[in-house]
């Protein structure tokens, strides 16, 4: 669709004054900056611009979208309820879940298998946004390598081990939801009625 001409605002470049037209102050200013950096480098007083990767690992922000993890609940079981919201939301179709009746009394459904093809994934983070129980999250682990395609297909155990690893390192990602989770996450708890009033 063409843009309506009345929606277009024309912006003129600012008029240059006499001093600006000489360009000398700008040249002197640029030279001063270059000289400052030169002095800092020679004397070693400035900040380090280069990180010595891989000996030195970068500190990434906690909302970085790297490798997935599958969270555990307070009893150490997989938190996922196999609702397929992540695989439905996934634009790359990289999540494959097989659901089954759960072996536990307090839950109805759980993922029998949960497989993410990390090579197919585009790390958009739609899966963690879609998850109603905050079971899947993207961690700040970015240096993902494997020797074969099979190694890059992460199953449930591998994704749970990513959770254990990030908890051990203390690099938990930030929670994607604020406030209480949906009732599917915490069945039979007191928080259920408060959260359900917001959901119904």
């Amino acid at each position: 669709m063409a843009i309506n001409t009345k929606d277009v605002t024309w912006v003129e470049p600012p008029q240059l004054g006499l001093l600006d037209q000489l360009y000398l102050p700008a040249i002197v200013g640029g030279m001063a900056t270059a000289l400052k950096h030169l002095l800092e480098t020679v004397t070693g007083t400035g900040p380090d611009a280069t990180q010595q990767y891989p000996e030195e690992k970068p500190k990434l922000p906690p909302h970085y979208r790297g490798l997935h993890r599958l969270n555990r609940d307070e009893k150490g079981r997989v938190k996922c309820v196999a609702c397929f919201m992540c695989s439905t939301a996934c634009p790359a179709h990289c999540i494959d879940i097989v659901a089954a009746p759960s072996p536990w009394n307090d839950r109805e459904k759980y993922p029998e298998t949960f497989v993410i093809d990390e090579l197919r994934c585009i790390y958009c983070g739609m899966c963690e946004q879609a998850c109603p129980v905050d079971a899947i999250e993207l961690t700040s682990i970015f240096d993902l390598t494997g020797l074969s395609r099979e190694q890059m297909i992460f199953d449930k155990e591998k994704l749970l081990s990513v959770y254990d690893e990030t908890v051990r390192r203390g690099t938990d990602p930030v929670r994607t939801h604020s406030g209480k989770l949906g009732p599917a996450s915490e069945p039979g708890e007191a928080g259920l009625t408060e959260s359900s009033s917001a959901q119904s």
């Binding site: 309820v81 919201m85 009625t193 119904s200």
Partner: protein, 565 residues
Amino acid sequence: MATVYVNDQPVDIGNEKLNCVQAAEKAGVLIPHYCYHPALSVVASCRMCLVEVGEKKPDGTISMMPKVVPGCQTPVKDGTVIVTRSDKAKDAQERTLESLLLNHPLDCPVCDKAGECTLQDYSFGFGKAESRMHDEKKTPPNKPDLGPNIDLFTDRCIMCSRCVRFTREISGTSELYITHRGDHSEIAVFPGDPLDNKLSTNVVDLCPVGALASKDFLYKQRVWNLKTVDSVCPGCSTGCSIHIDGNKGVIHRLRPRANPKAQGHFMCDEGRLGYHYANSADRLREPSIRGPHGWTPVGYREAVQTAQQGFNEHSLRSITGVWAVLSPFMTVEEAYLLALWIRDFGKEARLVLGPVPREGEDDHYPKDCRGNAAPGVPKFTIRAEKCPNRIGVEAILKHFTGTVIGFDAFLTALGKGHVKSAFLAGGYLPTGRGHWFPAEAVPLLEQVNMLVVQEIFTSALSQKAHVVFPSATWAEKEGTFLNHQGLAQEIHWNSAPPGESRTDGQVYLDLLGRTGLMRAHQLRREIAQVIPSLSQLSTGHLGTEGVLPGEAPPVQSPKRKIPVS
């Protein structure tokens, strides 16, 4: 002629006896409802269909009733005025939904109904965004042992009582009842009397929420991943209209499709759960030829050529020794093409109808308290004839041979050694009732010089063959089935046949030497021209409800979505 005004829109309802919900549906207006179902009695207990109803007087004035009334229980007449979206009606619908959601757990992420749940749909369309409930929700325990095929998630139930009325009015077995009162109400069965009648899984389709779940489908798929095609159940000659729900070439469930001409709204459990063989990994996947060194899997082209050559040679030696057995599981188109091919060799080539599986007597519902069929017109019948298309195949056979020759003639000829080349057509459902071909006759097949067999699974029969074509199941082909009363219905494919196999119709087309793909609607036109008794196929389209003998077929079928796997 009676005219009803739905939201100011006049609708002509003719002489039909309708209620407000049905009249509004005619006008294309949805009155939300849970407990009302066209096949069940009206109880007006869910209060979801509350609307404003009034009357237009002959002088043009309109007088409305002072309160909202349940639409399902209010009959319409000439001049009835229905207002579904007035402030009063909207308010009633909102409050009803709020009340229904008071104790509903909202565990949609783990509920199998999510995506096709009317509680979700109506909450979105007619509900309010918030609940004023501050107390804790009730969480009664689930009842996984409600029946062998049914699971009850008690807390999701909204007490519409459709399932209870189904067991009382349609199956007549009355297993279900409502126990307790008020918000303690629960669906229950009596101890030692589970919900195990032959129609029991219909309560899952009737349930407007996810309270009743089919154990067969439980947690298999989310419903929005399923691709649906319209088809016909091949289990018996009732020919129930069904939906096949599949994903990625796998059938996940069958659902009844409402069709007043065929079976009504329901289907039996045997038909509904009888699809698993189609998903089996043990199915025959490629054609094979038996040579001097045993079986060799071959390409499809080679198998077709071998069968053509074999039949050509042996038909020249003895045309009366050419036999073809047409199974009553074939579609009309397949039977026509096979008969055409066999009759190409000569007029004396024999065509016989394969064994027609029968089991017991026709099973009529509802039942009375002793388990016998209740008096009156049956509301559902499971037929004893366990094949979908005997009538259609017989019509083809009558055209080609003048009369229908039974399977016994083939066995007699086989016993006498008169059968020189034989084509045994496929499609028989593998059931617990044993193989369709009598075991004692299998050794006699040794003397047949050219035996072509179509089978879904390897069997003693296919071991005796010279050429084996893997047969496609009914969910993999297009075609026509004629049910017990001659109702012609279209079937459509949900997935491609496995491996190297082709649909049976395609095999016959290639044997005939015709080019192109098997297109059912074109063949229907051809058959109707050749065979006057099947004139109901003349346009090639049968619509969604099918065409009875003597009825005019529709000119165009509704556009069908091709399933993408």
